[in-house]
Amino acid sequence: MTAVMTAPRPGFWIRLRTTILRHKIASLGAALVALVALAAMLAPWLSPHDPLEQNVVLRLMGPSADNPLGTDSFGRDILSRILWGGRVSLLVSTSAVGLAIVIGGALGLLAGYIGGAFDRVTMAAMDVLLSFPTLVMGLLVVAMLGPTVANLILAITLTAIAPFARIARAPTLAVKERDFVEAGRALGFSNLRIMGIHILPNIVDEILVMASLWLATAIRTEASLSFIGLGVRPPTATWGGMIREGFENILDSPWLAIFPSLAILVIMLGLNMLGDGLRDATDPRLRHE
């Protein structure tokens, strides 16, 4: 996300903050996202135990003072594993979406601005990428290249490039026809400058909305891949992996699967609420109420 946000747009952060604060659902969503992100970032300090520390005596324990969310079949502390698992989820999803914004956004901006054959070829390539369901693409890449964090990021990036290319291209087509672009040309600005300084800030709203919704998708994809055993290898804690482990003991120790599922639920809900709020705020029909 950083690439888009560093676009020179004075007052952008202030505008974004006001937009979110003014929208109740968006602010609630932002709070949920911030909560999860903070918890994951502060995992080394918040965790009561080492997430990999096994204790066979204390296996499959229910919630207690020492293990607030209980323990798994190796006696590892669930709360600690959820906090550390959040780091993997957020690292993979933000990296993948960030890369997809940079690559897809640049392709869409170029395709929309240049037009003609370049536009047709680029967008046809994007349609090919779009035809792979997210999970199938993930399976393909991870099965071929191996289950590492880098490959997970690559797999999710590949599926997210096309939507970002499309979301960047559509408003570029409209913005490039506007008078201030022609005026910029009359001032001698190069195409690169017109795209970067004059068109990009005008399309960043749409990209931002898309980014918050795609972060949720990326987290879900990472969890799905981990669930079917194609995510980061155990014993590293991941939410998807924990649900899978909990699934084996779902009848006698349901909390094993429930707590990581709740973590996913909270972050997905937060991101979707934030995304919907941003979309409402940037919708031109609602902008000047």
Binding site: F180, A183, L187, G188, F189, I197, P201, N202
Partner: protein, 333 residues
């Protein structure tokens, strides 16, 4: 004109592609412009005024337009022979353009001061701070009230007239030798229009730049121009000083334009609209392009294109009319 002219346009022809064939939208247009001189390009919509300006600054849309012949001389160089990179150094620097729509010609998401400073930073070596200071001076120069306070305001916080002043400040930023003004006051209220015209005239005499002022409003022409080129269907049909043109219009089209201006000292019933329409670019008549609408037309008018010549005793007053200017030898019917 004792000194070298600021801008010379010779035989400029620009064509557009319509349904696979190329048709000229501007045909063999020639004029020169002295320093500190304003030439008005006048004519109704679609007569080639704006295309002439876009050809000079090299912004004819490449997808379906091309400049096929002619020369545009500025600082001893032919702009039509320059590549895109060289043209980018000239646009906004030696030759600048202001547009008709101030409401949409500024980027809505960037502060106005930033946009003025941007042109400076792009064409000069000024530091960001120096460019900002210079931009503020420019905004004060175009008489934006409390410019320092409004420097970081966004375009939507400015009125139309104020935005056009910002556009003028951007165009002036690098001290251009030639300013192209494409109907810069058409979208403004009459009182604001007068203020902007006065500002342009003032800036022009201060900096000594030459200005091409495109308009369809002859009232504006009278107040700002030194010379006038009347265009019709892609041709210059009359070229004269503003005094000569208003006192003794040579071409029947100019005459008709003058009769179609509403005036407070005359009855509205005296207004004479010009019958008919400009011929479409794809079906130009063989002879004089205006013949079909002309009350004085002769047989020759429909056969041969009249040359742009000065009738005997008319000084430098050029007209393109068999009836009024003839072959340039005094005219014979």
């Amino acid at each position: 004109m004792s000194k070298a002219p600021a801008l010379v346009v010779e035989g400029l022809t620009t064509e557009f592609r319509i349904g696979g064939a190329w048709y000229p939208a501007v045909r063999n247009v020639s004029f020169s412009l002295a320093r500190n001189e304003t030439l008005a390009l006048v004519g109704e919509s679609g007569c080639g005024k704006s295309i002439t300006a876009l050809s000079i600054i090299g912004l004819v849309p490449k997808a379906n337009g091309r400049v096929t012949s002619g020369r545009v001389l500025l600082d001893g160089r032919d702009l039509l022979r320059l590549d895109e990179a060289a043209m980018e150094k000239i646009r906004g620097n030696r030759i600048a353009m202001i547009f008709q729509e101030p409401m949409t010609s500024l980027n809505p998401v960037l502060p106005v001061g930033f946009q003025v400073a941007e042109a400076l930073r792009y064409h000069t070596d000024l530091s960001p701070k120096a460019a900002r200071e210079r931009a503020l001076q420019l905004l004060q120069h175009v008489k934006i009230p409390s410019a320092a306070r409004r420097f970081d305001d966004f375009p939507h916080q400015f009125s139309g007239g104020m935005r056009q002043r910002v556009m003028i400040a951007m165009a002036l930023a690098c001290g251009p030798a030639v300013m192209l003004a494409d109907e810069p006051t058409t979208a403004l209220d009459v009182t604001i229009q007068a203020q902007v015209l006065a500002l342009l005239a003032e800036l022009k005499s201060e900096t000594g730049m030459a200005m091409i002022f495109i308009t369809h409003n002859l009232g504006v022409v009278a107040s700002i121009a030194d010379r006038v080129a009347v265009m019709y269907a892609g041709d210059i049909v009359e070229l004269a000083t503003v005094e000569e043109l208003f006192a003794a219009p040579l071409h029947p089209y100019t005459e008709a334009l003058l009769y179609s201006i509403p005036r407070v000292d005359r009855d509205a019933v005296d207004l004479k609209p010009i019958p008919g329409q400009v011929p479409p670019i794809t079906a130009m008549p063989a002879g004089c392009r205006y013949a079909a609408r002309c009350p004085y037309k002769m047989a020759r008018c429909e056969r041969e294109v009249p040359p742009l010549v000065a009738p005997a005793g008319a000084g430098g007053h050029l007209g393109r009319c068999w009836v009024r200017a003839g072959d340039g030898a005094g005219g014979h019917a």
